[in-house]
Symmetry: C2
Subunit: 218 residues, 2 copies
């Protein structure tokens, strides 16, 4: 249907649209795709010709309905494969991204529907991100950043914002994992750090970390 490159662009635009509500700029897309702005312009024209994006010169791009559906389908595949790699093949959550980047481009509807069934229709991938269902519907977010959690309140780790290998390794090293309960003991105003309790261990956490960890409350 669509090429590997086209799918990757659609995915990147989808993710960037959260921050660029009025349209994703060429430079932002170039940085996300680790390529040059001129290459982005070329590809945008192609996507536009295929009715996958809406584009007016110098005004940035936005996904069309078709483009959004396609992007969500790729994201669905990516997250299902990540779940498979962790739950069935015993990978760590910081090892799966690059492999899923390849697997997400395999073309077979039946493969994905059977995989979904085999995995028990999981709702979230190992990083806590929702897995779209076959109709493209996401589970609702219902999560806040740890940094937004008030003193003395508690919640459960449900996801990470930054899923870089370094950050995931840091979390593992400090025994922070999805599903674990976390309680805010103290918040320092001057540097934004906080003291938290996780499995009876007190831990001081920087603002950078608390800004990258999602918590489900109540």
């Amino acid at each position: 249907m669509f090429s590997l490159s086209e799918e990757n662009y659609l995915k990147a635009i989808f993710h960037l649209e959260r921050s660029y509500k009025t349209g994703v700029s060429t430079n932002a897309l170039a940085e996300e795709m680790e390529t040059k702005a001129s290459s982005v312009t070329d590809m945008i024209k192609k996507l536009s010709g295929k009715k996958l994006v809406n584009y007016r010169k110098y005004q940035g791009v936005r996904l069309s309905e078709l483009g959004r559906e396609t992007a969500i389908e790729v994201i669905r595949k990516h997250r299902l494969w990540e779940y498979f790699l962790v739950e069935k093949l015993g990978f760590q959550w910081d090892e799966v991204h690059d492999i899923a980047e390849q697997l997400e481009h395999i073309k077979s509807e039946k493969l994905i529907s059977q995989l979904d069934k085999f995995l028990g229709f999981p709702k979230r991938d190992p990083h806590g991100d929702p897995i779209p269902d076959a109709q493209g519907k996401f589970a609702v977010a219902n999560k806040i950043l740890l940094s937004e959690l008030e003193k003395e309140k508690m919640g459960i780790c449900v996801g990470v914002k930054d899923s870089s290998v370094d950050f995931l390794r840091f979390l593992d090293k400090n025994n922070i994992a999805l599903g674990k309960e976390i309680k805010v003991l103290e918040k320092e105003t001057f540097d934004g750090s906080m003291l938290v309790l996780i499995e009876n261990n007190e831990l001081r956490i920087s603002q950078i970390v608390s800004n990258n960890l999602y918590i489900k409350t109540n």
Copy 2:
């Protein structure tokens, strides 16, 4: 490491080397790859430059040691994925080839070793073909064509030579599957057909079929 196209050529040369012991001809490779002879020549030059094949103009190609190892690694991946699709995801054996053609090019050593372990280190894929182990060793063949089986002798179906969808469908329709015991009741000399017994059913089989079905004896 190597491109998708390069891997496909190596795999094709590997398979053709069984019939073309002295070197695989350009035309044979072109037919196998469903491309033109001139494209094959171009690619062979590239493979030769990468020390994957031995090539002298007009003399056909043969895999180098490196080329053979690479081809076997791709075949290992293909067959492990086929096994996964049938045994874990519930696919029929005639549906898996095209999907495995895509999955075989995913690059990750750990993915394959973990998949192998998850599947219980299977020795044969759903078509009865041996799955090379991590060192590239194949299980020994020990099989003959049904057409070579003598009257009154019996054996077990272990594989197919032609794994076209049509042929696999035909086998399913006639209740012939891998692992089933088959006995030759009669052989007709004039048309090569034979009467066989499979699960208490008598069945007349043409020579074309018996030439495409592998049997393990004793």
